[in-house]
């Protein structure tokens, strides 16, 4: 797929507007009928640090970055050396840099890429009101072959509400960029032609989570800001009230999750969004939700950890706490979307499952998905709704935690006369009355486990593609690069199976074993230092004897090329 796409990055100091520029370019490309993805890479500081908007445009849907860049545009070189190991350049790459910003860093100079000078800062000085990032958008847009008029329209659309003066200045900047591009030599790699007009969406993973929640019927959110999850809260703050729901900015994460439990106890489907440190604080209440059988969804947009880690970059190392965090045996649902579009459906499904099973659900997204923005094929229509089993039998015989073969006890809600009970984190009997008896404890533990075991989760526990006796097993955002690696190998005639697990807990071990039955060679791919996913799988099933793990901590992307190479060496290893 590599040759059908164009990869670009814009870098500059935080505040230089590279994110806005990248987003504008993506929007313009989408308006021209392309698909594309933009991921963000920034330092932890808000301004003054390094920032990169990394884009990939294609005529076919793409959701992972390529292994290398065709174009790098530097508004300035501030701390750019930090990108040395992730923005990969070669002799076919082209660099646009402002000679007024000094020399390019060593990694750029030694890459063999051709550097082309464009005096961005001088242009800004000579044309009052323009900004370097808008000129950069014009330049890149024209150079790679987007339609100038559509790019202008896109910018007009974005700035419309900000007044005519701003729009005029931006259009002037774009045109400066267009004319600069006309002076540049042609790119070695051309932009693929736009595909047939199909319905597409422009959406970020965080917005997609918010939309999924709304579609499934969530009407309450309490949250405390934390990077990189805040956009979920911001999006819901606008859209929940518009459909009759409420968002509360809580004083901390302890309050956030407990407020959600309060709302859900009252019958209103609830969600909170956070990232690692906030999720750690929520773990006690997760146990409460499990014990008291109150549904709710926690979205953890993972970042580098432990502790405050790397707030602005991606990792998949919260798997352990998501599955096992909380004392005691506290089963919960753990789900992971494996693309930006899938953030919609997986969140929807999480809400549905949480409500159906009266169990907390954790959705593990990450910075790459959450803050990634893409032009994607429009996701399928809503399929999963919040549907809670309510009691029809309030009165003398109502027992809130009555046992049944599927373990699901019909629930009563405040306002239902005769259904009064006290939900509690204490071990209890079927009535809800606290009990320290071992057999009561065990009966309820059995019931809660059975709820999850007896439920038919269907086929969407994983995405399984391809066949053959070599397989890649992954979850979450690393799936995107793995999928492309498999596609590339398939194009070369090699058949590789991809298994991406969406329902991480409870894991459908029978189905996974079946999916791996014909597999002789297995590569596990995950973005964690300790190989958390691999260890988790090993604790539940026997993996093929020939299993290798490609595990790396964040934030460095595991690219499709690297995965393809790992699969190939896996095959060679066995042959040797």
């Amino acid at each position: 797929m590599s040759s059908d796409s164009l990869s670009l990055a814009l870098i500059g100091s935080g505040g230089a507007g590279v994110m806005t520029a990248g987003q504008t370019l993506l929007d313009a490309a989408a308006a021209c009928g392309l698909y594309g993805l933009m991921t963000r890479a920034t330092g932890p500081q808000i301004r003054g640090g390094e920032a990169a908007a990394i884009l990939r445009l294609s005529s076919e849907p793409v959701e992972c970055q390529d292994d290398r860049l065709d174009v790098l545009l530097a508004i300035d070189w501030n701390k750019a050396e930090r990108f040395a190991d992730e923005l990969i350049l070669d002799a076919n790459s082209r660099i646009i840099a402002d000679p007024g910003q000094g020399q390019a860093p060593e990694w750029v100079r030694t890459s063999g890429a051709r550097v082309l000078d464009v005096p961005l800062s001088e242009l800004v000085k000579n044309h009052r009101g323009t900004r370097a990032n808008t000129i950069a958008v014009g330049l890149l847009s024209h150079w790679i072959g987007l339609d100038n008029a559509r790019t202008e329209n896109t910018v007009r659309g974005i700035l419309e509400s900000k007044g005519a003066r701003l729009v005029d200045a931006a259009i002037a900047g774009l045109q400066l960029g267009f004319s600069q591009a006309r002076e540049l030599p042609e790119l070695p790699q051309t932009l693929p032609a736009a595909g047939a007009a199909r319905e597409r969406w422009l959406i970020s993973g965080n917005e997609a989570v918010g939309l999924g929640a709304l579609r499934a019927g969530v009407r309450f959110c309490a949250a405390y800001p934390i990077t990189p999850s805040t956009e979920i809260q911001e999006w819901l703050a606008v859209h929940l009230p518009a459909v009759g729901g409420t968002l509360v900015q809580a004083e901390d994460e302890l309050a956030s999750i407990n407020m959600c439990l309060g709302a859900s106890f009252g019958g209103v489907p609830a969600i909170t969004a956070t990232s690692g440190p906030g999720f750690s604080l929520m773990v006690e209440a997760l146990g409460l939700a499990s014990q008291a059988e109150i549904p709710m969804v926690v979205v953890d947009v993972m970042r580098g950890g432990p502790s405050t880690g790397i707030p602005t970059r991606s990792e998949q190392a919260d798997l352990n706490i998501a599955i096992h965090g909380a004392h005691g045996d506290a089963p919960r649902l753990v789900l992971a979307p494996n693309s930006i579009g899938d953030c919609v459906s997986t969140t929807e499904w999480a809400v549905h499952l949480a409500e159906a099973l009266q169990t907390p659900a954790v959705v593990l997204s990450d910075q790459r998905l959450g803050q990634g923005r893409a032009a994607i094929p429009s996701p399928p229509p809503a399929r999963w709704q919040a549907q809670r089993k309510l009691t029809t039998d309030t009165g003398e015989s109502f027992r809130r935690f009555a046992d049944s073969s599927d373990g699901i006890s019909p629930m009563s809600l405040p306002g239902m006369a005769g259904g009064e009970y006290t939900a509690t984190g204490l071990s209890h009997m079927a009535s809800g009355r606290p009990s320290a008896s071992g057999s009561d404890h065990r009966r309820q533990l059995d019931k809660r486990r059975r709820k999850l075991q007896a439920f038919d989760f269907g086929k969407q526990w994983a995405d399984i593609e391809g066949d053959g006796d070599t397989a890649v097993l992954t979850w979450g955002s690393t799936t995107l690069a793995a999928r492309e690696a498999v596609t590339r190998l398939r194009a070369k005639g090699q058949s590789v199976r991809l298994v991406s697990i969406r329902l991480l807990s409870p894991l459908d071990t029978g189905a996974l074993e079946e999916a791996l039955a014909p597999v002789k060679r297995l590569l596990i791919v995950e973005q964690s230092h300790g190989g958390q996913f691999h260890r988790y799988l090993r604790s539940l099933i026997d993996l093929p004897a020939h299993t290798r793990v490609l595990a790396r901590p964040g934030p460095l992307n595991i690219g499709p090329g690297e995965i393809a190479r790992a699969i190939q060496s896996l095959c060679l290893e066995e042959a040797a």
């Binding site: 259904g419 009064e420 939900a423």
Partner: protein, 281 residues
């Protein structure tokens, strides 16, 4: 509260608000008085049990929801207020009562207390203050006197001034603040009924002796005295607290202000929201 309420208290069966659970409290615990007064207040206000929810954290006092026949949620230590707020905000049709102890409310849950006062959600917070951690067998709480040496955890006393819940509530913006005594059933029921009827966040500190770990609190009977005159003047309320010995009862402050309200927005459909993501070419 008028004498009409007092009459109703005697007429309506407050037992309907009690559950058949036998409290685990020590005989003589002040919390029995709180339970009795609360069921009386609910009966007097003619609330329907199914429309009331009692939310608590952890502690002896936090067990109270299960002893009533209304909906209850006995959560984790210190988190009664956010639980209650989530419920009250999303179900404004209910009467929501958060309850618990001084350790639960002012120590582990201290931050939530400040923000509940500020946020002003329409609910009532009843704190059974016995100046000790009863459930964990008698450690000092934030309201314990600095020279109390009865705890093995602070054998020399805490050396810290006790926290002043009413001053904090006032400073943090609570619109309704009162103090009552568990051993004065009618006054307590009256205060509770007033707090429950108040629109906004109402906070009642209830002096409720722990006879097991603070038997000296049996002497509170002699020290408690009426005295607060309800005012809507913050300066006057602060002045009253400056003269307070910790045992003055009554409504200290009552100054309604707008409640936390759900944000309003122009109504739309999920479909219309979703359509915004479509690429415009």
């Amino acid at each position: 509260m008028s004498s009409a309420v007092e009459k109703q208290i005697s007429i309506l069966g407050h037992k309907d608000f009690k559950s058949d659970y036998k409290p685990v409290w020590c005989a003589g615990c002040g919390d029995f008085g709180v339970l009795n007064a609360l069921t009386k207040a609910m009966a007097a206000l003619e609330l329907q049990p199914e429309n009331v929810a009692m939310i608590a954290g952890i502690g002896c006092s936090s067990r109270i929801p299960a002893y009533t026949s209304v909906y209850g949620f006995h959560g984790v230590h210190g988190r009664a207020l956010p639980l209650a707020a989530g419920l009250a905000i999303s179900r404004p049709d209910l009467t929501v009562i958060a309850t618990g102890g001084d350790g639960d409310g002012f120590s582990i849950g201290g931050n939530h207390f400040l923000h509940a006062c500020r946020r002003n959600v329409d609910m009532t917070y009843l704190v059974m203050d016995n100046t000790v951690y009863g459930m964990t067998k008698g450690q000092a709480s934030p309201t314990t006197e600095c020279d109390w040496t009865g705890s093995k955890l602070s054998p020399q006393g805490t050396g810290q001034p006790p926290l002043q819940p009413l001053e904090i509530a006032l400073a943090a913006g609570a619109p309704y603040i009162a103090r009552a005594f568990s051993n004065s059933p009618n006054d307590l029921a009256r205060t509770m009924a007033e707090a429950l009827s108040f629109r906004g966040f109402s906070f009642v500190q209830i002096l409720s002796p722990c006879i097991t770990f603070r038997p000296d609190q049996l002497g509170w009977k002699k020290r408690v005295h009426a005295g607060f005159e309800a005012t809507d003047n913050r300066a006057a309320a602060f002045a009253a607290l400056a003269d307070d010995d910790g045992f003055t009862t009554g409504t200290l402050y009552r100054a309604p202000r707008p409640c936390h309200a759900s944000a309003r927005a122009e109504e739309t459909t999920v479909q219309a929201i979703q359509d915004q993501f479509g690429v415009k070419t």
